[in-house]
Amino acid sequence: MATEVGPTSVKAPASGGAPIHHAPKGVGEDNRIATQGRWAAWLLAPTILALSVVIVYPIITAIVMSFQKDAGLDPATGLFVEGGPAGFSNYYNWIFQQCPAPSGGTVDCPPGTLGAQFWSATGTTFFFTIVTVALETVLGFWMAVIMARAFKGRSLVRAAVLVPWAIPTAVTAKLWLFIFAFEGIGNKLFNTTVLWTGSEWPARWAVIIADVWKTTPFMALLILAGLQMIPAEVYEAAKVDGASAWQRFRMITLPLVKPALMVAILFRTLDALRMFDLPYILTGGANNTTTLSILVINQIRQGFNAAAALSTITFIIIFLVAFIFVRFLGANVVEQQTGAGKGKK
């Protein structure tokens, strides 16, 4: 595939990578790429520099910190000890839920301490992620299908879905806390007398419902944008061929909307894995609603370095999930973003 290197509409081949070098090229073209490369370097420099300062530097610092001991009282001697190299002990302590023992060495962390919560927080984080993303995908798809139809008041619906999205998460959390208050409208509507934030499953459902309310619109809009890319003629042709509504959905809508859907699911999944605001304000992390992010925040004031190890673990988990999505589930964000896969609309 020859890549046109012209000033207008530069398209990369679908294979990705650095496309220019596979293209048949002349001398002028080479010069042009060199010029564009220099330009690009200058234009990108401020962004790369800024992101290096605000992201790359903190990550490296966090990784360095995670291999240091936290300064504190040595439980064996009762004396204040400076930190020092810790090897992998911070990671080991989190993963095997070990705490320093008074006799030296480590013991299982007593229940209730932060050290004993790693696996439950990981479980809670994944539970929230899987349930909320699944619900948001189904609901979002349904909303998108409705919003894609032609009916009077469609623009009203499209405007309304932006309302939950526009409300800050902190406000959302307080609003649902009020709705789920013991004397609140939630109990009145469902005719229940549940202390929603008072026990494990109601608290979890409160977080899930609030999160689904807040973020389904984003999902719906992304899927709607994907639906609108499907030409109406495809459906007409299928109808003429006698395909049922379900067949049309399964054989046309799903495969054609899949790239947009996968990107939406990827975004939401990575967002849900770092969930913090909602459970932190709604339940304070009580009743098994502590996510990994909340655990890191609770740990910060008890020891930077252990917190750094935990935040690095969180980062690695999110990175792995993103990798799995992109590598195995075909959520090709970069290709989507560069428009390389499908070309322009």
Partner: protein
């Protein structure tokens, strides 16, 4: 003859029935769409409506569950701004406005160049740069907070504005670059070429031709950037002080006269104040915002 007539009548009747059935199906589908639309409207708007209704309800009737506004008062808005219980909502509004404005401006000024390069130029490592920027936007805030907490403690920046602005840039800037890149790719760049034929340099063509055309895209990106900075909670909850806290933190920690009674009506009033300008902004620029939000996911 009669047989033929009756056959024709029957055929016509059958066609009629078919048409009626089709019409019925159509009607039924249409009404199902409307029912769904009403459900969506209710689901999205009812909680927000409840916030506004409660904001205008007398504090003595906090748990009144009548759907229409009752015991209407403006007292809650006064309570929201009251500082006697250690709340700093008024100050927090100004803080959020200030932090959001600075973060948005800085991200736009830096990001616009990167977006131009990514949308328009062809160079080595383009995919790597894009991947880096996308990765940055997915980055978990907690992975930044620990080293920043220690760093800012050491250099005495805890509770300062810069301690809130700098980490905010880490997630607003990637979002800005990402959104603008998608917008820029859609623009009529032939005009740039014509300008260059007419003797402009690439820089001039960018400033004089492209910038005015790109203004709506940049404006939309600015709104999205501002909203995401306005919503930030995690970093602010750890690094801000009473004097610099943004509205999200102020609302999350809003205290009432009695320590174990949550002043819901005042919090809903504060929430309404924080939300209404945003909602108006979003509804006015609805089309553009949706385009900006979904940019990159499709196309």
């Amino acid at each position: 003859m009669t047989a033929a007539t009756s056959a024709a009548t029957e055929l016509r009747a059958e066609q009629d029935r078919g048409r009626k059935a089709a019409q019925n199906r159509e009607k039924w589908a249409q009404s199902r769409t409307y029912i769904s639309a009403v459900v969506i409207l209710f689901w999205c708007l009812a909680p927000a409506y409840w916030m506004v209704v409660t904001a205008f309800r007398d504090v003595g009737y906090t748990y009144d569950t009548s759907i229409l506004p009752t015991h209407v008062t403006l007292d809650n808005f006064k309570t929201a701004f009251d500082t006697s219980f250690g709340n700093h909502f008024g100050q927090a509004l100004l803080n959020s406005l200030f932090i959001g404005t600075v973060v948005t401006l800085v991200s736009l000024v830096i990001g616009v160049f990167a977006a131009y390069a990514l949308a328009r130029l062809n160079f080595k490592f383009k995919y790597l740069v894009l991947g880096f920027i996308l990765g940055a936007s997915m980055f978990p805030g907690v992975a930044l907070i620990t080293p920043l907490f220690q760093l800012f403690t050491n250099i005495g920046w805890m509770g300062t504005y810069q301690a809130l602005i700098i980490p905010n840039i880490s997630f607003v800037l990637p979002l800005t670059v990402y959104t603008m890149t998608s917008f820029f790719r859609e623009m009529p760049w032939e005009l740039e070429e014509s300008a260059r034929v007419d003797g402009c340099t690439q820089g001039q063509a960018f400033r004089k031709v492209i910038m005015p055309l790109a203004a709506p895209a940049i404006f939309t990106t600015a709104i999205l950037a501002f909203i995401s900075s306005w919503n930030e909670f995690l970093i602010a909850s750890q690094l801000s002080s009473d004097a610099t806290q943004p509205v999200t933190v102020a609302i999350a920690s809003f205290a009432g006269a009695q320590p174990n009674q949550i002043p819901y009506t005042a919090i809903m009033a504060a929430g309404t104040i924080v939300t209404i300008p945003l909602v108006i902004l979003v509804l006015v620029f609805q089309r553009k915002i949706v385009a900006g939000l979904t940019a990159g996911a499709v196309k």
